[in-house]
Symmetry: C2
Subunit: 130 residues, 2 copies
């Protein structure tokens, strides 16, 4: 019995969007999706587990990269259909959430009518995914 799971308004695919925010800095690190199983696993483990829509399977963040996310807090929005996770990004200092080796996935900034990468690569992807 997990009535708090039933309060979430899962979409027609059984998913909700999840935003991961670094607890210490406030930086928004990434955006992903969760189903009931992913959220249950996240709560049980205290580490972020998402649902990979491209691979159609549970995705324990860090399973390939070693860049886990410790989850401190889970928030839900006013419509009960979006989650916000306050996390510590583990496995590298400073934390690497993005598969490109950057701190945050949101590294492209719109300026002068073009998307410009404005954050450095902290670790080359070929060193992350061996």
């Amino acid at each position: 019995m997990q009535p708090w799971l039933d309060e979430i308004r899962w979409d027609s695919d059984g998913l909700v969007p999840a935003i991961a925010q670094e607890a210490s800095s406030g930086d928004v690190l990434m955006f992903a999706w969760m189903n009931r199983e992913a959220l249950s696993a996240t709560v049980e483990r205290g580490q972020a587990v998402y649902w990979s829509r491209s691979r159609q399977r549970l995705w324990h963040k860090g399973e390939a990269s070693g860049h886990w996310q410790q989850v401190h807090e889970i928030r839900m929005d006013c419509d009960n259909d979006v989650l916000l996770l306050k996390v510590s990004q583990l496995g590298h200092d400073p934390g690497i959430a993005c598969h490109t080796g950057r701190h945050s996935c949101f590294f492209q900034r719109l300026q002068s009518g073009a998307w410009q990468p404005v954050e450095p690569v902290l670790l080359a992807p070929e060193k992350i995914y061996k």
Copy 2:
């Protein structure tokens, strides 16, 4: 000609998720959706314009509440399918992004197996929507 709009991977409904984050505090305020027209209008006005999926029309945030969002910066993620807006939440001090009269839409925290509201109502909704 707006090639930067074509670089975005719009979903099958022509939408992308957009996260609004308060520039000054780092607080994640809300989550909404944008289509091409909403994002173009956001850039032109310098104020957040979303696409309301429930009403199926452009939604200039603040049009009913007076709680506008000034947009300082627009970021895009590594997959080119999620946007992050750095905003100032205007019209009330402290800023009210949520239709419930709270600062942030993410005011429910999971604790002891239940969702608990953990942020105060700053202004009653009936005073916002007259």
